[in-house]
């Protein structure tokens, strides 16, 4: 088969109105004219799993910290013998990645270092993980103490009498620097155990593939996955709150959850309401540090700042409870099924192989749950606090006239924000007007136009010529970027019978139903009972939605993507990594999703979508 290529970066058209987009991002994030030859020789895939929409300049911080810190653990901490980190660039607003291999002749020399370092972690896993929790909580607690208050008209008298001799602007600057540092710190911690979790998983994975040739990937995942993981905890809290509300007969208080204050006041005024509120407050800290997005965007909404979201979910659960539905996840059944699967595979082995199976599975089952649970602590909790603080700063500077919209800070990159802050404190300090209010509103308008123009185009799945085979283990596992997947994107893959899409068989089962295409978490309310969710990518915090839908189809993601994990947990079929599901499929089309084979068929491709838009109850198909 002749190898086709993806477009070169320079071949992708710049959307009208986005001209000059390169300059809104730091120089080191964009492809360089002087490096064109080297950069075009590399294969770059787009990570639209984590960054499905165009970066505003400030938002590159999440991509930079995450991918840099992932890389450092491969290349500098663990000395993975055959994999360094991942280079990354922003092109036309989207993030593209290129894994960096270790030269053949250096691999052997890294092995002893690797084994020593990895060995230490695996030997002392529990202890080190305990420390991790302390470190991460410490970072979050410190972040919470940071504030960005308007500077006073004059230095307080106390500071005069104590001879403090500083005007307080240094606190603003320090807090900003510290906030960035603390985010960076927790992103370093984020990867302390993540790569190890994947390594342990891969070791068990390869063993299983050896002793059970062609064993489905899903079986291996099931054997090491946690059943009751922290990632599901926020959703479980809502379910418990819904149950309690039903027990206490509080249903009527949840008639209009969009009005948070009125809803909570109404609960409080009801008999037993105080008990419910106490339970609600308990759940909020920390479990409402939970975003409907993925933690990487300034526009992500967090439950604790938008309580209409969790209250809406609670109301929906209350309705389902009143209809006699069982809303709880079948944890006991899932545990029993997992144990059965482990036991049956184990019984297929004899002697030494059984011992090896036990050791490898135990290691993977110990290390792997981190891969699922860390997400709450970093993406949700840490980043929830981070973005809240950034919004506080943005609003303060907005009040100082630096920009026209309260959250316009996001149109500056993080180093420009530092400049703008110094501009602010200088103007304030000397008793003159800062320059920013003159400079930034116009510049931000220009950038807003560019970002909006970039948003009109979807990213290319990849750039340049792919390697013949993709071997880098993390690329395969985290992103599902396999040789077959790349071929599929290039249109060279096996055709799906009857036309349709092929992706990864991420969670087994076959269902038919109507599609609901979601491009943005704000559209989640449109999802109706029994529909098939089609999205670029899903966030684990969409938990309550998974209780409503029949199946999930995503554009990107592998066996271990969040959509795959959550769907397996909810027992829903999922096909991930279809490349173009969310752009090919239209809401209302009838689909057949085969999560066992990894195919999605559009059953009425010619027909007009039956219904579109929220609140369309005319197709109550179950």
């Amino acid at each position: 088969m002749s190898m086709k290529s993806f477009p070169k970066p320079s071949e992708l058209p710049v959307p009208a109105g986005a001209e000059g987009w390169e300059k809104i991002y730091p120089y080191y994030l964009v492809f360089q004219d002087k490096l064109k030859e080297q950069e075009d020789a590399k294969f770059w895939f787009c990570d639209s799993q984590h960054w499905p929409t165009v970066f505003k300049p400030f938002e590159t911080i999440g991509g930079e910290f995450a991918v840099k810190c992932l890389g450092q653990y491969n290349a500098r901490h663990l000395m993975i013998p055959n994999a360094n980190g991942i280079e990354f660039r922003v092109h036309l607003g989207y993030l593209y990645m290129s894994p960096i291999p270790v030269p053949e002749d250096q691999i052997a020399a890294r092995v002893p270092e690797f084994e020593q370092r990895v060995g230490h972690y695996f030997q002392n896993w529990e202890e080190l993980l305990k420390q991790w929790h302390v470190k991460v909580r410490g970072t979050i607690d410190e972040m919470e103490t940071l504030s960005f208050k308007k500077l006073p008209d004059m230095v307080p008298m106390d500071d005069i009498t104590t001879g403090k001799a500083m005007d307080g602007s240094e606190v603003l600057l320090e807090n900003y620097d510290r906030l960035i540092q603390l985010a960076y710190q927790n992103w370093q911690y984020h990867f302390e155990f993540l790569n190890l979790g994947y390594i342990a998983y891969l070791d068990f994975f390869n063993f299983c593939k050896e002793v059970f040739p062609n064993v489905p990937d899903q079986s291996i995942a099931t054997m090491v996955q946690g059943v009751d993981m922290e990632l599901f905890r926020p959703d479980d809290e809502l379910k418990h709150l819904a149950k309690l509300a039903v027990e206490l007969g509080l249903q009527s208080a949840f008639a209009n959850t969009d009005d948070v204050d009125a809803t909570l006041a109404s609960v409080r005024a009801s008999a037993g309401g105080e008990r419910w509120i106490a339970r609600y407050e308990e759940a909020k800290d920390p479990w409402f540090n939970f975003t409907v997005g993925n933690g990487f965007y300034g526009h992500d909404k967090y439950w604790n700042e938008h309580q209409e979201i969790p209250l809406g979910y609670i109301a929906d659960y209350i309705r389902r409870l009143d209809e006699g539905q069982n809303i709880m996840r079948p944890v006991a059944e899932l545990v029993a099924e997992k144990e059965r699967i482990v036991e049956e595979y184990r019984d297929l082995l004899e002697g030494e192989n059984q011992t090896v199976f036990d050791a490898k599975r135990q290691l993977a089952a110990t290390a792997y749950p981190y891969v699922e649970n860390h997400n709450f602590y970093i993406e949700h909790w840490t980043m929830g606090v981070f973005w809240r603080k950034i919004r506080e700063l943005s609003r303060m500077m907005h009040a100082e006239g630096f920009w026209t919209e309260p959250e316009d800070l996001l149109y500056l990159n993080r180093n420009e924000v530092r400049d703008a802050l110094f501009d602010l404190v200088t103007g304030w300090g000397v008793g003159a007007e800062p320059i920013g209010p003159t400079y930034w509103p116009e510049e931000i308008e220009r950038r807003r136009g560019i970002v909006n123009a970039l948003k009109t185009a979807r990213p290319a799945p990849a750039l340049n010529t792919p390697p013949e085979i993709i071997t880098e283990p993390f690329t395969r596992m985290l992103w599902g970027i396999t040789t077959e997947q790349v071929q599929q994107w290039l249109g060279a893959g096996e055709e799906v019978e009857g036309g349709g899409l092929r992706g990864m068989a991420a969670s087994p089962g076959v269902v038919e139903g109507y599609a609901r295409v979601i491009h943005d978490s704000d559209q989640l309310a449109e999802v109706q009972q029994g529909e098939i969710l089609v999205a670029t990518v899903t966030a684990p915090s969409w938990g309550p939605i998974f209780g409503k839908i029949k199946a999930t189809v995503t554009d990107i993601g592998g066996m271990m993507s969040h959509a795959a994990i959550v769907c397996r947990e909810y027992g829903l079929p999922a096909v991930t990594g279809t490349g173009s599901g969310s752009t090919t499929i239209k809401t209302g089309q009838r689909l057949r999703v085969d999560g066992t084979k990894g195919t999605v068929q559009i059953l009425d491709a010619e027909a007009e979508p039956a219904v579109a838009g929220p609140g369309a109850h005319s197709h109550s198909h179950v």
Partner: protein
Amino acid sequence: MHSNEFIQFFDGGVEPKLENLGGKGASLVTMTSAGMPVPPGFVVTTAQFDRFMQEAGITGHINQLLAGLDPEDVAQVDAVSAAIREDICSRPVPADMRTQTIEAYEDLMSRFDAPVPVAVRSSATAEDLPDASFAGQQDTYLWLEGFAAVGEHIRSCWASLYTSRAIIYRLKNKIPDEGLSMAVVVQKMVNAKVSGVAMTLDPANGDRSKITIDASYGVGEMVVSGQVTPDNIVLDKVTLVSVSEHVGDKHAELVPDASARGLVEREVDAERRSRRCLTDDELKAVAQMAKRAEKHYKCPQDIEWALDRDLPDGENLLLLQSRPETVHSTKKSAAPAATPGTGGYASVLGAGIPSTKAPDTPENSASGNPDSGNPASGTSGFSLGSITASLTKASI
């Protein structure tokens, strides 16, 4: 009626003995008592064969005919075979025994609203079965109605012990005719819409974590004898997820035909050929049944199964036969041997990096040493060499 020396019902509650029932008959009784969905029937025991051969004077005649027979003299062997089989098919069966067989048949028929067709199959005792392929020499007669036909074909099964091939085989291998016997299975005919075989391993490589199913339309004989290309599906044995699927051509099917009072071969239309003949649920049910058989016999099984057109969905899967898989299960270990701890670099942790361990504290030295076997630790006993090998493999 109850089982006795000459007749044993599958569900008669009598312990199956190979020497009385032959391999097939014993297996059907065992499977029935294990609660597996076996179509009902009974076994005409070897005791009946023995007494018939003795009392009808055939045994003596056989001994005369076989004495000094040259296995290379094909014409002479053919003549002897014909004579013996003529004896078996024509000489009277002792009346009391014949009455019991008729009663058994009527008892079987009485279980249905109307008389149903039956299959009559020979069931040889193990001593006569030096290899599985030899079983194919014995006979199966399908779709028989009324006792006249049944009785006649019980004799045909008996007679199949004396085909020319069987005689030559025993002469050449010096297998004596003393003790040679034959049981016969009489079983309700399955009105199969789909049928086939299943193995509780992957015959391609002996991998015991798979179940392999061949399935085609109609009665299963065409699959067993290789006259059609069936659908071939490999399932994971633990999760029953499909691992590979090939839709076979299935160009023809054997189906009952009322006017012909038997089975006729019919062409399968293009639409039915092009799709898999089993639904996902049916596939799962076949696999689950194969697993049950394997669990019961404690070794890999090769089963024959059918979906009965006359029974409702969910209750229509029947087990026709289960026997040990003979090709791979005779090898010591079916699963490919793994290569634990031989990554080519360090070996098992502790031995591989003794000088680089973390400063030993009572806590971490206990949990970190694989030899300490601390059951509470989830991370003891891993192999760094194997982890390295996993990461550096060309592909996963």
